[in-house]
Symmetry: C2
Subunit: 513 residues, 2 copies
């Protein structure tokens, strides 16, 4: 069948069941109730500390076919998924489903576990590295389910994604299960992507390398939701938290795009006292914060909050008084971690508060402007951040589609071409973020405004910004680049791309690699 | 039927259904799942502010027969219950059930609403003032359900107590429903008793007199759980937060008991580094903190946490470095409110974290020592804090039974007689806290140790404390007091007294007043 974007999607999928086609960014309405978590009773005097992961597997009753969840705040420094997989393989478990908010190159051992049948199912919001290649090549019989950060929280809260055992990488814990992300040698900041897991999983196992005296605080995840605590030598390498993408770019093209992006925000009329802002952690997206900062200083503007994915750059803007608060679901560097630990204006929130569309209001709904990247953007402003030009998975939505849907002004800031391939295309290979939620594309060759926003186009023209039709940018890209080869794809569906509301926005087919 | 304490209780009750008899403090085991809260979606740009309580009633679909919940952090200064009741009466609603965590003299208008049929059901953890008298006199056809603070959170989470509309008195709010208890003219500290209401009620209405710019923080209750915000002139009188019971006593008998209580704690072996402590807010109970403080100073002891109901006295002990943290579900005075607002070592928690027996571990489980009061205590160490000597309701468990069950050492500190009536009785009129969870009774005439704790009796004797049999204290009380008149009680059950696990520990019968 075809969904509202014209994408061909199956009626159902193995391990998933019936598929609801995407019908528009704000079309789906929730019904029903949140998932039931189990009622348990833990009495006085009982310590929750177990001697090993193996002991936790036993205590949790972990068995073949179960769904195990993980969070990714340790990013490419995470050791916990690999430790748990090694234990599962050692115990001979089969047919597990891994639900991890994001997968990084460090998680390469998962490929072996998918190959040997220890793992047969995968749910995630973002994949880079060997796991992405293996999934694209069709290593699993069942398609991987890819979600947004808000969509994952929604799926857990509504019971679409049920978790048997949640493993929480806890930079610090006490013996009764209070967990903190800002303490210990592997401090990573918030534990926001694990919040729903802890709330709704049947069994919750904290894995830590830093056991503190009771009571540990500040509390990211409370004792009332944690069953067991396992102490290991090390849960991760903090150097892996800061990935390369979070450094401010020196590239002049990035800066040209970033400057134009900041001018778009200023011209939109949103850049005034109370301004709220989210930006990506790399390239032109992060560089736009540099120019927004300059404009805020010049205008004497005091914003309300910056949201994200928080980098040191946002911490500096907080310290400078340009924002009153940082609302933080994930730290992108260690300076942000230190800020969260000591600054009461730097607030930790869970993924549901951040971006779950099926709550009484998540914080992306209150964003004035968000600046996002893209692998491809098409003439309908649909964005692809899942697959590369060769059809291989190399990312995922993360919070992309969430922030785009919530913000009053959504800007995609991207170079017109990457590696001699055009970014602006007639039709994206994989639709991740629907065009109706994207307002402006900014490139180094000019910018295009979504025809749904004539008011905005008028403002940008009045500010003498180089507004073009997106078709013009597409043609400019074609003039500059080699004609792209058609991407040879197999018939097999290797990934389902869920929109944040749980409808299917696209699928990814097997790539020839 | 008779329960494990030999109390005669009905098999079922109107508006309640079948009754499970109390079988022992740790006998009941939970099964099943937490209650489902509704899944909702609130999109961008929608303000939650409504013009009036009447508008909120309409938006919430409030109708006859519904259950409305309230919290009591504004204590005897609360205006919100009365405002909502006035609106309900004005709209001609009937047959409402009020579930408020505690009722105070200021809530006298509830009596009129019970009399005129606006309200026909009541759930609460504590009642003093005109409502208590009216309930005891049998104003309602259905018995009132009295719970503990932890038991109320349990009842809400498990779905035993379902809430249609929760009204949350919010000292500060933003227009998207983030609520804080430490800001605004009616700042009251934590909103811990409203946490479960906000999580599980079908509709959540915040009532505030202080609307702040978005985002409001620190966040006591998040936007993801709040449907509507109503701004009124005033939600309460902060002077009502500090009730008379929270002042340090000058009474020499109280101090004699308090000193002996502190000696019991010291002799128990628990008063060492890491010590954790909870005490009541009045009389000998609060005064015991004075002597515990002295002993901690003298011994150079650094405790882990103090829990409660937090008073200024505990704040001083925190500042002095005698505790590392205060864990706070309710502030008893404005100094404590100020401390919570600015000290990161003063931690707000919800009622479930505080005392819900059916979680993966509440914090009362980690208490070393708690000092509690009593209206009566009997030869089996069962305690009554619900009814006075005339059989009229004049209190309730609050956290009494919760802390007693959780703490390693539970001390009841009380004068041997009150108003010429003995505190130590053969059999308490109403059983609130089971004797198996009470370790020591301390009076001005000596102390008695529960026969279940021969180890403790041995330690106290070794410390030359005046250990007696509780029967001796009972006889001493009889010698000093007038023989108590038999209490004339009717047949009608006016209140069900639930133990924290949801079993029935006793009932209250109609009093002749």
């Amino acid at each position: 069948m075809r969904n509202a974007l014209g994408r061909v999607i199956p009626e159902s999928a193995a391990g998933y069941g019936p598929i609801t086609p995407f019908a528009g960014a704000f079309a789906a309405k929730p019904d029903g109730v949140r998932r039931n978590g189990p009622v348990k009773a833990v009495g006085s005097g009982r310590s929750k500390v177990l001697a090993s992961l193996e002991a936790a597997f036993k205590a949790a009753g972990l068995r073949d076919g179960m769904t195990l969840s993980f969070h990714h705040h340790l990013r490419n420094g995470d050791f916990v998924l690999n430790m748990v997989l090694a234990t599962a393989a050692h115990l001979g478990l089969r047919d597990l489903t891994i639900a991890m908010s994001s997968l990084h190159p460090v998680h390469a051992p998962l490929v072996d576990r998918m190959r040997d049948g220890t793992v047969s199912g995968l749910h995630t919001n973002y994949i880079v590295g060997p796991v992405a290649g293996a999934v694209s090549a069709g290593i699993l019989a069942k398609p991987v389910v890819m979600r947004t950060h808000g969509g994952r929280a929604r799926a857990i809260e509504t019971g679409q994604l049920t978790i048997d055992v949640a493993f929480i990488a806890a930079p610090a814990a006490d013996d009764y299960g209070n967990l903190s992300g800002v303490d210990g040698p592997s401090a990573c900041g918030p534990l926001g992507y694990a919040a729903a897991d802890a709330e709704f999983a049947d069994v919750v196992v904290a894995v830590t390398d830093c056991l503190r005296p009771y009571p540990l605080f500040p509390i990211s995840i409370p004792q009332t939701r944690v069953d067991y605590v396992v102490v290991v030598d090390s849960i991760g390498d903090p150097r892996g938290i800061a990935s390369g993408t979070t450094r401010m770019t020196n590239n002049p093209t990035d800066h040209k795009i970033a400057h134009a992006t900041a001018r778009v925000i200023r011209a939109s009329g949103l850049l005034k006292d109370g301004f709220s802002f989210q930006t990506g952690a790399g390239g032109a997206s992060l560089a736009s914060a540099h120019y927004v900062r300059r404009f805020m200083r010049e205008g004497g503007i005091v914003g309300s909050f910056a949201l994200g994915g928080i980098t040191n750059y946002m911490v500096e803007m907080l310290h400078e008084g340009l924002f009153k608060a940082l609302i933080d679901v994930q730290c992108f560097d260690l300076e942000a971690v230190r800020s969260l630990a000591c600054d009461k204006n730097h607030i930790e929130v869970g993924a549901s508060f951040y971006a779950n569309p099926f709550t009484r209001g998540c914080v992306v709904n209150r964003l004035d402007a968000v600046v996002l990247g893209a692998t491809e953007i098409d003439l309908d402003f649909n964005v692809n951040v899942v697959t590369g030009s060769n059809g291989v998975i190399m990312g995922g939505s993360g919070g992309h589609a969430d922030a785009a849907a919530g913000a009053a002004l959504t800007i995609v800031a991207a170079k017109l071409m990457r590696k001699r391939l055009p970014i602006v295309v007639e039709r994206v290979l994989t639709a991740t973020t629907p065009g109706e939620t994207v307002d402006v594309l900014v490139t180094e060759r000019g910018l295009a405004v979504n025809p749904r926003r004539p008011d905005l186009a008028e403002r940008l023209r009045a500010a003498r910004l180089p507004v073009k039709r997106i078709e013009e940018l597409h043609e400019a890209a074609l003039d500059l680049t080699d004609p792209p080869d058609p991407v040879p794809l197999g018939d097999k569906t290797v990934a389902l791309v869920e929109y944040r509301d749980g409808t299917m926005i696209d699928v990814v087919r097997q790539a020839s690699i």
